[in-house]
């Protein structure tokens, strides 16, 4: 379904701020798999998702969806295949437009936008029906500007918008990180529900060890722009939050080992 082949990305190359955010990432997603991505701050998780979504182009490597090479496709073209929810609740919605306008915009993700009225009765009714299932009472506030909603309500709507037209791939970048625990639970519940119902191929970044252990059928750990752990199937199902923390420590230990080992080699051979 999704193939990332030898993906490399360096920000600000040749300057003092040079950051090698992706250093040869390689993986393949099966259809309908739900993959959790974890890793420390700055390890390159968001960069990986942004590269797949097309926010920038890779320096090297390839990205394929359903066998199609989309490496040089601009972001808006990839949107036909990809639904996204961002970490920042402000990023996924247009604050000065109404709930209804935001939703009908999403109902034409990746499709031609004509000179027909955007809000058509049947579409709005169907959207209202779906919004009702969120249980937030937002179906009665379709005329409110979305900027007046709470972060949790916005993320719930953004998730709905990203999945209204079934995406080939759903990208979730810490989409509950900015929410209070109760709203976060609610959005996670909605995420589980829609991913299961629509059999969505999903990449979800999280810092919550609980979410990492309890959600998804595969787990990838990213460190310094590389994939350092990859668990699937029964191994993934057995993982507990404590195991994950132990893995973090282990990765960090090898990290510290590396510079010393390099030093040792240098003193011996140079």
């Amino acid at each position: 379904m999704l193939e990332v082949i030898g993906a490399k990305k360096t920000f600000n190359p040749g300057t003092i701020n040079e950051t090698r955010a992706l250093q040869g990432v390689h993986f393949k997603l099966e259809k309908s798999s739900f993959v959790i991505i974890i890793g420390t701050n700055g390890s390159g998780k968001s960069t990986l998702l942004n590269a797949v979504a097309g926010s920038f182009f890779l320096d090297d490597g390839q990205i394929r969806i359903d066998g199609k090479d989309i490496t040089r496709w601009p972001e808006h073209r990839r949107a036909a295949y990809i639904g996204r929810v961002f970490q920042n609740p402000f990023s996924g919605t247009a604050p000065n437009m109404t709930i209804e306008e935001n939703l009908v915009l999403a109902a034409r993700r990746g499709l031609f936008r004509s000179l027909l009225p955007a809000s058509r009765r049947s579409l709005v009714d169907a959207l209202k029906e779906r919004v009702r299932t969120l249980g937030m009472g937002l179906e009665n506030r379709f005329d409110n500007e979305i900027g007046t909603l709470s972060g949790g309500q916005r993320q719930a709507l953004t998730l709905l918008m990203a999945t209204w037209l079934r995406p080939q791939l759903l990208l979730l970048d810490e989409h509950t990180a900015a929410l209070d625990p109760k709203s976060a639970d609610q959005v996670i519940h909605l995420t589980r529900e829609v991913v299961a119902r629509e059999q969505l191929t999903t990449l979800m970044v999280t810092h919550s060890m609980w979410q990492a252990a309890h959600l998804g059928d595969r787990l990838i750990m990213v460190h310094r722009g590389k994939i350092v752990r990859d668990y699937a199937g029964a191994t993934k199902a057995r993982l507990r939050p404590d195991d994950l923390l132990a893995q973090f420590d282990e990765v960090r230990r090898t990290d510290q080992l590396d510079p010393t080992a390099a030093e040792m080699l240098r003193s011996r051979y140079v």
């Binding site: 247009a94 437009m97 990746g110």
Partner: protein
């Protein structure tokens, strides 16, 4: 009375400018100074075509389209070449100054002797009130021609406003508004934001040029200077409109921009009548816009200082 009619008509003509500026300034958050050049361009192209004997409707349409092309170029400079939006507008405005001179061949073209759209206004009046030259309106004697032109302009402005409102409710129009509101979000929904900006600036400057085309015909000449400072004028109208309707909601904001343009023109006419030196006009306009821009923040801070913590 005739002065009032004239001011109303010019106010309505300039409300098309205000609508154009509204699109760039409020939908995309850009101060697109191309407007100064495209207003003149609209007037110049229309004037030249009228002098060549082109049908007034076609000449006006051509003026409008030339402005749209200018706006499109500004958009391309900004989105394809990554030049800052303000600088793109300045480049285009500067280039247009020479282009306008080239189109016109000299700095001023009188239009009084050629058939133009104002004659259509006169015909409209004759159709409605009969063939007489003058009529009584609230005790004043006015020419039917002036009334006809005013009504025709009013009708056209209303039609434009309604079309614009419905455009911004279409699939394309909502995508355009979202581009100004949250480009990241609308890109993730599959919209090429660069194209939206190019299209939006074309629409904006098309309206501005239409305003210039009508203005040239109404005042009876096109002048290479006629666009100078018009962006400020448009911004002033939009801001006055917003303070009148007290919302940024689409329908009311559009109505507000039109009301703002007319009101602003009337205020200036009154000020000029009571002895304001026309040379100071642009200075006064700039000072006025300054206060209009800072007054919301100013009012807020005053309220905080003297109004206690009521709003905190």
């Amino acid at each position: 009375m005739n002065l009032l009619l004239g001011s109303l008509t010019i106010g309505l003509i300039l409300s098309l400018l205000a609508l154009g500026v509204y699109i760039a300034f409020r939908i995309f958050g850009m101060a697109d100074i191309t407007a100064d050049g495209s207003l003149t361009l609209g007037g110049a192209v229309t004037a030249v075509l009228l002098l060549k004997g082109t049908d007034p409707v076609l000449a006006t349409l051509a003026g409008c389209l030339s402005g749209a092309a200018a706006g499109m170029l500004t958009g391309i400079l900004h989105t394809r070449f990554g030049i800052h939006s303000l600088l793109s507008g300045i480049l285009m405005m500067t280039a247009l100054y020479s282009i306008n001179l080239w189109v016109m061949g000299r700095s001023n073209l009188p239009l009084l002797s050629v058939a133009n759209l104002t004659d259509a206004g006169e015909r409209l009046a004759n159709l409605m009130i009969g063939p007489q030259k003058t009529m009584m309106l609230m005790g004043w004697e006015v020419t039917c021609r002036d009334i006809g032109i005013l009504l025709a302009t009013f009708a056209w402005v209303c039609l434009t406003a309604v079309l614009l409102f419905f455009f911004f409710k279409t699939e394309l129009g909502t995508a355009m508004r979202a581009t100004g509101d949250n480009p990241q979000m609308i890109r993730a929904l599959g919209v090429n934001t660069g194209n939206m900006i190019v299209l939006g600036l074309a629409l904006s400057n098309g309206l501005v040029a239409l305003s210039g085309a009508l203005l040239a015909q109404f005042q009876g000449f096109a002048d290479v200077q006629m666009g100078i400072g018009m962006i400020v004028w448009g911004v002033a109208s939009v801001i006055i409109g917003e303070s009148l309707v007290r919302t940024r909601r689409l329908g009311l904001a559009i109505t507000g921009a039109i009301m703002g343009a007319v009101l602003f023109r009337l205020l200036l006419a009154i000020a000029l009548r009571f002895g304001l030196n026309p040379n100071n006009l642009k200075l006064i306009t700039a000072i006025f816009v300054f206060f209009a821009l800072v007054s919301p923040a100013l009012l807020d801070s005053l309220r905080k200082r003297w109004g206690g913590t009521k709003y905190a």
